[in-house]
């Protein structure tokens, strides 16, 4: 990436942070019960000032470049699996859903080329780990989980 592109990306980020600071200040400051919102308003004010400062510094290029590349596509699958898993956890049962999460993540991200081995490895690991979780949380710590359709 050339220098100009990096600079522009950093400016966008600083602008985003500034907008966020502005929004936080807006919801904190313009409230009826001022005493209850006093502390959040002070904090949001500080945040707004700091994000302005950061923006100004980006404009004049006074910052250390601390950006790392964002590999968007690689994580999307993991994020979807987690979100879907948690949203059905209460309904289906914690153990079933977490077992599925374990299986899917360890299968998808495995670098084993052979499909059969990949499946066997994932199933073995997931069953073993879910057993460990069961012993740790349900047996040792007596954690009560939501009663789902299955377990």
């Amino acid at each position: 990436m050339n220098i100009k592109a990096i600079l522009i990306r950093r400016l966008y980020v600083a602008l985003l942070v500034l907008l966020l600071g502005g929004y936080v200040f807006k919801v904190s400051y313009f409230q009826e019960n001022s005493e209850a919102y006093l502390f959040p308003s002070i904090v949001a004010g500080l945040m707004l000032i700091l994000s302005m400062l950061s923006f100004v510094r980006e404009v004049f290029d006074l910052c250390v470049d601390d950006f790392k590349p964002i590999p968007l596509i690689d994580q999307t699958y993991a994020i979807i699996v987690m979100v879907v898993g948690v949203s059905v956890a209460e309904w289906l049962g914690m153990y079933v859903t977490t077992f599925c999460i374990l299986l899917l993540i360890s299968y998808w991200y495995s670098n084993q080329r052979d499909k059969g081995r990949r499946i066997i490895n994932s199933v073995l690991f997931s069953s073993g780990f879910i057993g460990f979780i069961y012993i740790l949380f349900s047996v040792t710590l007596n954690l009560q989980l939501p009663k789902g359709l299955l377990i």
Binding site: N142, Q144, L149, L150, I151
Partner: protein, 332 residues
């Protein structure tokens, strides 16, 4: 339909597990662990007492016959936040009325919250069913050992001469301590400044460290710190067995009754089947009276006050009426 399916799947599962050896349909309530939500964090007085009074639930006698609840334990789940509002809100919204999900209540806390925040709070005495009461912890008026105040009279006089200057601490907003402070103000015709400390022990700390001039606190907590405190009065109808020398506020000349007493007990969501409620109402008080429970509660300095379901129902109604009147100026 949903419930049917769920029951079916659970029965299937049980059958599979027990290989059909146990006749599932014959079992009587309770046949599973009972969960009890406590709306305060671990380590607090309510949590600590809730754990003691339920510890004998699964007890069996010498022949192995279940003593109280069919040998099933009651498990405490902490769901703290916003002075109990988070736990109780999620309880009335999510708990299944099947007798397996119970909660611990604190009166006057939940009743006064339902009066002051009618929009935010989803619970009130009409959508909850009391089961039994285990404890009653009156509020006491405390001052630091080095304080110039030696009696309720001294406090009232100071407050009268310096309106809005006398700072008093308490556990939180609209809890028993706050009710006691409001009643005190009304009876003495003064204006004190109530500082919610965020927890009973924290309120005690404010008095111990002289951060506030006086404080309202739990009798059980103040009782333990007597070497650094003066307990001036009890906000109850009669003197307490733990502190026979401390007068009631009435004896000290202030017309304050027992409305601020912190009652603790167990409740179920509305819609729980009548026979299940009956079973619980019969067996839970007996469980509270278990010798081991009584011994541990006494050792922990927690006053017990066991009340039946009917008594609690009457107490809730009476508090509702009184608190509505007391808090009508504070309604938001």
């Amino acid at each position: 339909m949903n419930i049917m399916r769920e029951k079916f799947s659970r029965i299937m599962l049980l059958c599979a597990l027990s290989m059909g050896l146990v006749p599932v349909a014959m079992a009587e309530y309770p046949e599973d662990v009972i969960r009890m939500t406590v709306a305060y964090g671990p380590g607090g007085a309510t949590d600590f007492q809730a754990r003691i009074v339920t510890m004998m639930a699964a007890q069996v006698d010498k022949e192995g016959n279940p003593k109280y609840l069919n040998g099933q334990p009651i498990v405490v789940l902490n769901r703290p936040g916003a002075g109990g509002q988070v736990g109780w809100n999620s309880f009335v919204q999510k708990a299944r009325p099947d007798g397996y999900e119970l909660a611990a209540y604190n009166v006057p806390h939940f009743i006064s919250q339902s009066i002051v925040f009618p929009d935010k709070v989803k619970y009130n005495i009409n959508n909850l069913e009391p089961i039994a009461n285990w404890g009653a912890d009156p509020a006491v008026l405390i001052v630091n050992k080095d304080s110039p105040f030696n009696s309720v009279k001294d406090v009232v006089e100071y407050a009268r001469d310096n309106p809005d200057k006398l700072t008093v601490s308490g556990a939180g907003l609209y809890v028993g301590h706050h009710i006691a402070a409001l009643q005190f103000d009304r009876a003495a015709g003064v204006q004190t400044k109530y500082v919610p400390a965020g927890g009973g022990v924290k309120g005690l700390q404010f008095v111990l460290g002289s951060q506030t001039m006086a404080g309202w606190n739990n009798l059980s907590d103040a009782f333990r710190s007597q070497d650094r405190l003066k307990i001036l009065a009890v906000a109850d109808l009669q003197r307490n067995d733990f502190l026979p020398d401390v007068p009631t506020l009435k004896e000290s000349g202030l017309d304050v009754d027992d409305s601020s007493v912190n009652f603790r007990g167990i409740m179920a969501p509305k819609g729980t089947p009548a026979d299940v409620l009956q079973t619980l109402a019969d067996k839970v008080p007996a469980m509270f009276k278990d010798g081991k429970v009584v011994k541990k509660m006494k050792a922990g300095g927690s006053p017990m006050h066991i009340m039946s379901r009917e008594e609690v129902q009457a107490m809730w109604k009476e508090r509702q009426t009184y608190l509505t009147d007391l808090l009508k100026d504070l309604r938001k």
